[in-house]
Symmetry: D2
Subunit: 337 residues, 4 copies
Amino acid sequence: MINVGVLGATGAVGQRFVQLLANHPWFNLTTLTASERSAGKTYGSVVNWRLDSPFPESVGELVVSPTTVDAVKDCDIVFSAMPADIATKLESDIADAGVGVCSNASSHRMTEDVPLMIAEVNPEHAALIDVQREKRDGFIVTNPNCSTIMLATALAPLRKFEFTNINVATMQAISGAGFDGVPAFGIYDNVIPYIGGEEEKMAREANKILGTFENGKITGAPFTVSASCNRVPVIDGHTLNVWIDVKASVDEVIDAFKTWEAPFKGLPTQPEKSVLYLDDDNRPQPRLDRNRGNGMTVSVGRVREGIRFVAMGHNTIRGAAGASVLNAELLHTLKYI
Amino acid sequence: MINVGVLGATGAVGQRFVQLLANHPWFNLTTLTASERSAGKTYGSVVNWRLDSPFPESVGELVVSPTTVDAVKDCDIVFSAMPADIATKLESDIADAGVGVCSNASSHRMTEDVPLMIAEVNPEHAALIDVQREKRDGFIVTNPNCSTIMLATALAPLRKFEFTNINVATMQAISGAGFDGVPAFGIYDNVIPYIGGEEEKMAREANKILGTFENGKITGAPFTVSASCNRVPVIDGHTLNVWIDVKASVDEVIDAFKTWEAPFKGLPTQPEKSVLYLDDDNRPQPRLDRNRGNGMTVSVGRVREGIRFVAMGHNTIRGAAGASVLNAELLHTLKYI
Amino acid sequence: MINVGVLGATGAVGQRFVQLLANHPWFNLTTLTASERSAGKTYGSVVNWRLDSPFPESVGELVVSPTTVDAVKDCDIVFSAMPADIATKLESDIADAGVGVCSNASSHRMTEDVPLMIAEVNPEHAALIDVQREKRDGFIVTNPNCSTIMLATALAPLRKFEFTNINVATMQAISGAGFDGVPAFGIYDNVIPYIGGEEEKMAREANKILGTFENGKITGAPFTVSASCNRVPVIDGHTLNVWIDVKASVDEVIDAFKTWEAPFKGLPTQPEKSVLYLDDDNRPQPRLDRNRGNGMTVSVGRVREGIRFVAMGHNTIRGAAGASVLNAELLHTLKYI
Amino acid sequence: MINVGVLGATGAVGQRFVQLLANHPWFNLTTLTASERSAGKTYGSVVNWRLDSPFPESVGELVVSPTTVDAVKDCDIVFSAMPADIATKLESDIADAGVGVCSNASSHRMTEDVPLMIAEVNPEHAALIDVQREKRDGFIVTNPNCSTIMLATALAPLRKFEFTNINVATMQAISGAGFDGVPAFGIYDNVIPYIGGEEEKMAREANKILGTFENGKITGAPFTVSASCNRVPVIDGHTLNVWIDVKASVDEVIDAFKTWEAPFKGLPTQPEKSVLYLDDDNRPQPRLDRNRGNGMTVSVGRVREGIRFVAMGHNTIRGAAGASVLNAELLHTLKYI
């Protein structure tokens, strides 16, 4: 068994990590960290469980550790739900101490020797770990920002065609900002047409994810992403309207969506279909489709000339914790863990 | 005084018309039509007043007429909130009977001799009425579809630059489908990425509105509009994310938005600013900005390189009834009424 | 195996029935009825599946029958999701034809020889079937109205005390009115303080459910229920604020809630806890607690002197289809089926 | 002119005060206080105006003061939107310094010599100020908690009957907790059946408001209030379901609601009807009725035997700032200001 821990186990993404890891077939969840105030108490007694699936009783008695390198140095991997300002140094130190860090934080996503991975999309980038290991015993691997994950996953089937510019409008769910991140008075009966830093992240992260690994680094893909990001009154599930300058017809694009397969099968958190084409006029919709593949499937539809299409996925599972856990599962099959 | 009527006075758009006309300085609201079932009863006794402004008592005692040509033939103008399937013949017949029809319905928007107008944007298209009058005593004038109005109004200040392709993602409010048009179970905690016919309407209507009137007809503008229309959980106010291929810098576009003025001033329903530039990071927002200019101002903001920007306006006032009433006011100053 | 059918399989309650019966360990779902328009086609091709759990593929190929006595006469039981106006005669005729009808409709709830049952609360009322069978080969058994189910289930543990008057304010979910029953424009950012007929149903149904079966009929319980029913912007889950004139202290009531057990165990649809006491200050909450016990648990909390408490349960599972299926499972153990 | 100030001018209640006082016929708004961080800057540059009515430009250039006694000692009255923990000492000190404090905070509501007033309901309690002035030059007057205001105002017409116990379930709007008080993730698609301290406040405040002023103090009214308070997904407007043990028939209660008149007329912020009876089945509703009387009218309806009825009012206008401003207007007519 592989011993794993979660950094920041009580917040929105942390609780998702716990939910996915509590009874994992490969990973043994041994360590949960949180604030000093919670350290030393049982997880069940400190967490305000806010997910709509039941609290996983098996972790209720785990004693919470403070969020320090020391607390996790005996883990094989830690999954990080830390905010970026803390993650930068903490994750480096933990990786230097020999632990593998699978991080949802934005801090190291663009670092040259850190893979920015969606397991089914760019598994070959895992090889960057070898480069990273020249300087440390452990490693950091990151998953992208939630809306970038939906975009890049939906683009994977289209990589066989040439494409250049992408325009994308996002309609992002409330949970993406954490449990208390969006006041109800701000978003109810409203659209907030701005999410700080999101448009820039989508652009640079998408280029790295779909870039080429050669000569020990990633050469970013040459397409541009021009994004407009919005918060809408939806609890979970980010919806994207995409325009892509691609040399393919509507039928070719639909066929690509239908036939594309992930380069591997059967990882515990992997859905049957990473990309699922829905041919109803008015799909995908977040409330109806976000739980497909246990929240790991990115649904696509409404392919029209332009080429325009709609993509949607669960932002805290596929878009955050689930992506990170799937990365770890991949790394295990590739023997990095 | 100019005697006016409202066709279909009890629905969502009909009630907006009544609200705007009940105490109008130029128009005398003499006639309200509705179904056979309501005809003969007072408006106050049949209408289920659903707007968040108080019922205009002055019209409470008006006796409702059936929706026939006969009922309105003594009006100078009628404002039509009829659904398209009924509007096609009814509006023709009323116009043939010598009445001016200002219609919110989609039926005649693309008819060759019918102006498709946003008063401040293409007032010169009113001259098409002269062409129409060759064949009938009255006339039909239409206002565009709600999201097209927001788009075309926001584009007016940019017409001095060259522009070609436009991509636009809309996030449209619930009220746009009528009081009962969108079931709560369908839209709550959800996004519906499809509004039937909307994307096509935006494309063709925008071309006509911004087209050139010459030789007795409108030659459509040459730019393309590629739209993706969504319904979101917002009561009033359509938000647009626009990408426009325009030969101008961000600063030039902002300046155009700030300095553009309507070609006329002071019509009763005309807002002080038809297009209002907001420079906050996270504006415009529907709940905060939809009532600007009494619901007649289109707010724009978030201008970024691309060129990208966000536009937002009240969909049943600026986007429907208000647009129609303002058209009628313009036609009065141009002596068509 | 017991062959079962669903009357009205495409609506909100009908889809819940199908979800619960599709892979039932005791019941073999052989027949689905819907409108004439859908009859003869496969269920998968006619149903607009709106639940947030995946479509049960095993029923996709079932050919839909018209809603007639003939279509279901070979079933052992049918579950009825029919609207009351149709249910009255239809269910009678089906029961007369020898089939057992477990109905969610309101039509026969107050009929003298028809049990009105919540399986764990008044299983002894099943004996009314013997009375019914004096006049027909089959039978009708009904489950109560959704909010009545929450109230009466929460009252079951308190029956050991004396209680008289009950005041109850309900906050009912959107789904209770069917998929299209509540327009978004009506309920979004709003409370509708009226649900037609609901307050009266709660009063009379609660008296019958908690009444005594003797001499071949039910003598209603003597307490009064004074209800105020509201619709709120919640998708699923009815919340009740209850005041009950009961001779017990707060601690005695909490203890009753904690220790009460259903009179039987282990039916397939039966939850581990039919009544679950939550001791958090701010629980139960519909979004967090409605799925407990697979939607069959009624959660209670906030017991205060008065006696006041809060109860909440899933309105289309515990409050409708699930209650009916559990009734049928009970009747099977009692050999009525 | 009477010079007034607002303590805490940038929050939810503070902005309401500013909106109501900006162009007041009797009061000259000279002073706005906020945090140290905002002090010295113009109000327009520091406030994040969140109300759906336009920013009152006349106050944009007012320089913000720090929240100190010194900053407001030259005001005749200050309106306090301070949180309770700060209000306790601050308001006392300001009153001791000779200023009249009209406070929305809870700190001094139950203080023996402080009136707890709803202007139209218990204006005679203003005489407590004479008692207070034995110990200080200024005074403190408070308005009640938002839901208490709705309840007590609705009870005013019923005071001519005898009544004893009241049960009340509240469905309270999001804005009541301030702009950022309720996270969207917590309340969207949900009911939170707990608002800390609210049930207790309703009970004791209602008794004081409807109590008798004699011998220099208030003897609380003898009825009991047993409340259950809930937060629901509504932006503005608290809805109450009330049960009142009153010796009156339904018709007598309706007649009382219809005919009751405030003991005075014509104060600037006073609505035409402080209590308005609506006889529709499904009214009052917050979104439709909260703006009646410019947000100062309490609407009542659904009177049924029990006696049960529904009351609803705007929680930040009638329920907070508006109540306080109306109190000040009354005190001016009574020459306390």
